[in-house]
Amino acid sequence: MRSSQTLKAETTAAARSAAPVRPSGGALSGGAARGRAPKPRRSPRQRGEARAGYLFLLPWFVGLVGLVLGPMIVSAYLSFTEYDLFHDPVWVGLDNYRTMFTDDPRYLQSLRVTFTYVLASVPLRLAVALGLALLMNRAVRGMSFYRAVLYLPSLLGGSVAIAVLWRQLFGGEGAVNQILALVGIDGPSWISSPDTSLLTIIVLAVWQFGSPMVIFLAGLRQIPQEVLEAATVDGAGAVRRFFSVVLPLLTPLVFFNVIMQTIVAFQAFTPSYIISNGTGGPVDSTLFYTLYLYIKGFSEFEMGYASAMAWVLVAIIAVFTAVNFLGARRWVFYGDQS
C-alpha cells in the first residue's frame, strides 16, 4: 500500500502509548535507517548476523510469499478471468470490473450499504469513545473498573452470539421496542424493515466503542500536566484548555483511530451475515461489501468476479486512507512542529 511509509510513523506514535507530544523521528525509523546504512564491506560477524536475521524471518518469509504476495498476484490475475475453482480460469479482460459498475445493481447496492455504514459508524464510534475518555480521565478510585466494563462490548461485539442477540433485541417484540413502549412509542420491527435494518448494525458498531476509548484514555494520560498548568496560568478556562491544548494534542490519536477504524469497518462481515441470515436482506438493505463478495465467491462460485471485487475494495480503502492523510495536514497536530 502506498501509504505504509507514513503510516509507519503513525503506528509508532500510537505504539509508544501514543504520546501526543513526541520527539521528532522515532524508534522505528531509527531502526530502519540503521538497517539501510551503507556498509560497503561486511565483516564475517555482520554476515553471520545477516544470516541469522534471515533465518529468524524464514517462517514469515514463507508466509509472505506463499500466503500474501503470491495470492495477491494470483487474485489480481483471477480478477480478469471467469473462474469457478473447478475449471481453468478463462480470460475475460476487464469484463468483471465493467459488469460491477454497469450491470450489477446488487453490487452498487453493496457499495451504498457499506459506505453508509462506514461513514456513519466510524465517526459516531470515535465521538462516543472520545467523549467517554474525557469524562473518565480522572484519578478516582473505580476508574479502571468502569473502563473494564465499558471495554467489554468491544471485545464481545464481533461474535456470532452478539449478532444473534442483536436480532432479538431489535426484533418486533424485542427489548428495544419494549422500552419504547414504556414511553408510548410503537417501534417497528427494526431488523425486518429495510429502512431500519442497517441502522441496527450501525448501532452495534457504535456500541463497540471500547477499544478507541482505551486508546484515547491512554493518550489523555500522556498530556503533560505542565502544559495544562501553563495554559491555566495564561488564563485559559476549562473550555479553552480543551479546544486549544487537549484536543490538538490528541489529534494524532484521533487520526490514527480514524485510519484503523475505517479500514476495519470496510471489512465488517459477521454482523451482516448473522443478522440477515447470510442474505443481506431485507431487500439487500444489509448487503455489506464483504458479504456480497462472499456470496459471489463461495455460493455462486464466481471467483473471478469476487477477486475483482476484492481489488476494488483495496482501491477504495487505499483512496480513503490517502484522502485521510492529505486531509490530516490540515488538522493533525504534532508536538515537534513550531
Binding site: 541469522a52 529468524f56 500474501v68 478516582v140 471485545l155 452470539a161 442477540l165 484503523m260 476484492a310 490540515r330
Partner: protein, 305 residues
C-alpha cells in the same frame, strides 16, 4: 496549523522532563459531591452499555413467555433448564463445538507465539540487508484487507486437500501472517535494554541462545498479550471456519451457534440465549483473568479490539 499558544510558550526543557514521567490525570477541585455525581453518571453509562448482555443473561433463565413481555433485566425466577437442554439439543452438541474451538485456538496461539516472536526478534535486534524494506512490507500487510488473498488461498488449500480440515485455520499462524503481533512484539523488544543481550553475547552465547535465554523470558508479558488476543480473535472468527469447514462434527462454536439459530431459531428462544451466553463465556473468562493485559495491549498498539 498554529500550535496552541500555551504549548509554544512552554519551556522545552520542562516539556521533555514531563514526557519522561506520564502526568497524573487532573485531580483538582474534586469535591465529594462532584465525585459522587461522577460515579452516578458512570454507573448509569455502564448499565446502559452492558444492558444487552444483562438482558440476554436474564432471558436465558426465565420462561419463554417472559422474555418478550418486559425489557427488565431482573428475572422473576431462575430456571437453569435451558442450559443443559440447549447444550445437547443439536447434535453433535456444544461440548463438541467447544472442543473443536479449543483445538483450533491452541494451534493458532502456538503458531502466533512461535512464528511472530522469531520474526519480531529479527526486526528488533538483528541487522541484515533490506531490513527497512521488509519492515515496511510487514506493516503494509497489516493494512491489507484479507479478502484480497481469500480466494487464491482457498484455491491453494483446496488444491492440497486441506479444505475440511483445521490446517487452513492453523498453519498460516505458524507462518506469521498476523503481522499485528510481530509489530506488538517488536515494539516490546525494543524496550528491553540492549546491554542484556550484549552481555550474553560477550559471554559467548550465539544468536539463538541469546534469543531463547535472554530475550524470550523478558518478552513474556508481550507474549501473554499475543496469546490472549490470538485466542479471542480465533475463538470469535466466523469467516474462516465458514469457508473451510463443512462437516458438523468439525464445527467450532460460532458455526455451531449459527446452526443452532437456524434449527431452533423460532422455537426455543430460551435455549438460544442460554447457548449464546455459554459461547461468550470463554472470552468473558479470559477477559476477567487478563483484563489489565488486554487493555494495555489496546492502549499501546492500537490493536483493533
Amino acid at each position: 496549523m498554529t500550535a496552541p499558544a500555551a504549548l509554544r510558550r512552554a519551556d522545552p526543557q520542562r516539556a521533555r522532563a514531563a514526557r519522561a514521567r506520564p502526568s497524573k490525570p487532573p485531580t483538582k477541585r474534586s469535591t465529594p459531591l462532584r465525585t459522587i455525581a461522577w460515579h452516578g453518571l458512570m454507573v448509569l453509562i455502564c448499565v446502559v452499555s452492558i444492558y444487552p448482555l444483562l438482558w440476554m443473561a436474564r432471558s436465558s433463565v426465565v420462561p419463554e413467555t417472559e422474555i418478550f413481555s418486559s425489557p427488565s433485566v431482573v428475572p422473576s425466577g431462575i430456571d437453569l433448564s435451558n442450559f443443559p437442554a440447549g447444550w445437547v439439543a443439536n447434535p453433535p452438541g456444544f461440548g463438541q463445538f467447544m472442543l473443536n474451538s479449543f483445538v483450533i485456538c491452541v494451534g493458532a496461539v502456538l503458531g502466533n507465539l512461535i512464528a511472530c516472536t522469531l520474526a519480531a526478534y529479527a526486526f528488533a535486534r538483528l541487522r541484515f540487508p533490506l531490513k527497512g524494506l521488509w519492515f515496511t512490507v510487514m506493516l503494509g500487510t497489516m493494512m491489507l484487507p484479507g479478502h484480497v488473498t481469500l480466494i487464491p488461498q482457498y484455491a491453494l488449500f483446496s488444491a492440497i486437500d486441506w479444505v475440511g480440515t483445521y490446517l487452513p485455520l492453523i498453519v498460516p499462524k505458524f507462518l506469521a501472517t498476523d503481522a499485528f503481533f510481530i509489530f506488538l512484539l517488536v515494539q516490546f523488544m525494543r524496550g528491553i535494554p540492549r546491554e542484556l543481550d550484549e552481555a550474553a553475547e560477550i559471554d559467548g552465547a550465539g544468536r539463538w541462545r541469546t534469543f531463547r535465554s535472554v530475550m524470550l523470558p523478558l518478552t513474556v508479558p508481550a507474549l501473554a498479550t499475543t496469546a490472549v488476543f490470538t485466542f479471542i480473535w480465533t475463538y470469535e472468527d466466523f469467516l474462516g471456519p465458514l469457508i473451510y469447514l463443512s462437516d458438523l462434527n468439525d464445527y467450532p462454536v460460532p458455526l455451531g451457534l449459527r446452526m443452532f439459530v437456524n434449527a431452533m431459531g423460532n422455537s426455543s428462544y430460551g435455549q438460544l440465549f442460554a447457548m449464546s451466553l455459554v459461547s461468550l463465556l470463554p472470552v468473558f473468562i479470559t477477559f476477567l483473568l487478563f483484563q489489565r493485559k488486554l487493555i494495555q495491549g489496546i492502549a499501546t498498539t492500537g490493536l483493533k479490539g
